[in-house]
Every structure is written in C-alpha cells, then in structure tokens.
C-alpha cells in the first residue's frame, strides 16, 4: 500500500518537474522563466522526496526517510532564496524584461544599465 502511495507521489512530482521544464523553454524572459523554475521544480522535487520518504518509512523508521524529510526542508528554504538572488542579479546586470511586460516599478529605485542584448543585436 505505502509503495503505491510513494509511486503516485513520485509520479506527480516528476510531472510537475516536466511542466517546470516546459515553462523554462516557453516563457519569454529570465524573470518569467525563474517563476516556472522555482515553483514547479521546487514542489516537484519536494513531492518526489516525500514519496521516497514514505517508501523509506515503510521498511522501518530508518535513515532514508529521515534524510528525505530533511532535504525537503532545506530545499524549501534555499530554492526561493536562490531565485531571488538570480532575479536581482539579472536585473542589475541589465537583462531587460521582454515584450508582454506591462509595468516595471523597480526602475524607480534601480535604474537599469544599458541592455547587453541591445548591443548584441547592433553588432550582429
């Protein structure tokens, strides 16, 4: 029984990871891609680890389940922090928000340097 639950959880997790990766390809710019990467990949990996934990606890209160649970905690804390750092770094480096963007209030406090992508298109 617990093996079936574990398999279902791992399956859902992999599915979310897949959607995250599709988002990574389809979305237009760095920031929207980070959205797909952080949300789907974090929850997907957490669910996969949860499945592993249930599988591990089925055979006794052993090390495998416990370590998976700890990994969930670490991942849930570090993944958003890393995404935050990446988004801020990209903005400060001058990566522009792409076409469908409607509003950018961050411009007020942090004027962007000239876009690198513009320079690249001029030379090519």
């Amino acid at each position: 029984m617990s093996e079936i639950i574990a398999a279902i959880l791992i399956g859902i997790g992999v599915l979310f990871n897949l959607f995250g990766c599709i988002g990574l390809v389809r979305f237009p710019d760095v920031y929207t891609r980070l959205q797909a990467a952080t949300k789907c990949v974090t929850l997907g990996t957490c669910l996969t680890l949860g499945g592993v934990a249930i599988y591990g606890f089925a055979g006794g209160f052993g090390a495998m389940g416990m370590k998976s649970l700890l990994c969930i905690g670490f991942l849930a804390i570090t993944a958003p922090t890393a995404a935050h750092a990446l988004a801020r770094g990209a903005y400060k480096y001058g990566v522009k928000l792409k076409e469908p963007t409607v509003v950018d209030l961050y411009q007020e406090v942090e004027p962007q340097p000239t876009s690198i992508e513009d320079e690249e298109t001029e030379t090519t």
Binding site: A36, C40, A63, I77, L105, Y106, E110
Partner: protein
C-alpha cells in the same frame, strides 16, 4: 542563551542527518542505537555553538514558545495550499497555447518588522501564485515580479500578495 539554542538546534540537525537508529542492526552494546555518532554529534554541536553562536536569530526565546510553534503549524497547511495553487496556475499558463501572461514588477509594503519575518515573507511570496521577490528595500518595501499583474497600485497589490501571509507571519515572528 543564544548559544544554547544553537547547540540544541544543531544537535537535532546532526541527529537527523546521521540518523543513528537502525532497527535491523545490533551494535556492539546490543541496541539499535549508534552511540558513537551520538557522542560525536555532541562535540560537533558544541563546536558550532561556540564558533557561530552570535550569527543566528535575534529572539531565541521564540523558538520554544508554544504559541509560536502553534502558529507555525497553522501556517504550514495554508502555505502548502497556496503552493499547490501556484503550481497549478503555472501549469495552466505553460500549457495554454497563447500563454496569457502579463508580467511586471510591482511594489508592495509589509508591516513586519523583524528581519527573519521579512525573509520568511519574501520566501513565501516566491513560492506562491505567480510572484517572485526581486528586492527588499528599507526593510519593508518589497519589489515583486508578478506573472499576471492584476493591479500596479501599491495598496491593491499589497492586499492581494502580502495580506494572505502577513497575518500568520506577524504571529510567528513578532
């Protein structure tokens, strides 16, 4: 006080990582517990507490306050619900042929005062529907990248993005 808290937390973390209990193994002393790594953990936790004692949390007493622990337990399912919702939304946007996204960076304000509270809020915002914290300024102004912008006004955006978490986090960290 702070060092004692760090000692306890790091010892628990050590026990979680090493997990010295195995029901299938009979050690030299006849139990399923690995006494050696438990004792080594005490030494490591002591070292960590002495070296990094000043680096963590400003209010160590909060960790053992039952009321705070209660609110953490209440907060987790709420957070998990929004996390699932966020994933379904991103899934919908990714699979929709026209990709109906309307991204933008908006500004929101928070009432939280403690540093760890603002950190938890920023991380919660990042993991929930269509929002990603880009920067925190003046300790209470957050710049948030929003996948589908519903309102660029500060007050309205605050109401939509921040208020659903602020109530709980205020109870936990302040």
């Amino acid at each position: 006080m702070r060092r004692i808290v760090i000692f306890i937390v790091s010892y628990l973390l050590w026990c979680g990582l090493v997990w010295p209990y195995d029901q299938n193994r009979i050690g030299t002393d006849g139990t399923a517990w690995d006494t050696g790594s438990l004792l080594l953990g005490l030494g490591v936790a002591l070292l960590v507490a002495i070296l990094f004692g000043g680096a963590l949390t400003n209010k160590p007493k909060n960790l053992f306050n039952p009321l705070h622990i209660f609110w953490v337990i209440v907060y987790l399912p709420v957070f998990f619900y929004y996390c699932i919702k966020a994933n379904l939304q991103v899934m919908y946007l990714v699979l929709h042929p026209d990709m109906p996204i309307k991204p933008g960076i908006v500004k929101v304000k928070t009432k939280l005062t403690s540093e760890s509270g603002v950190t938890a809020l920023a991380n919660s915002i990042t993991l929930t529907p269509g929002t990603l914290t880009v920067d925190v300024i003046n300790d209470n102004e957050l710049y948030v990248h929003w996948l589908v912008v519903e309102s660029a006004e500060e007050d309205k955006a605050t109401e939509i993005i921040v208020n659903r978490f602020e109530y709980f986090l205020e109870k936990i960290f302040d």
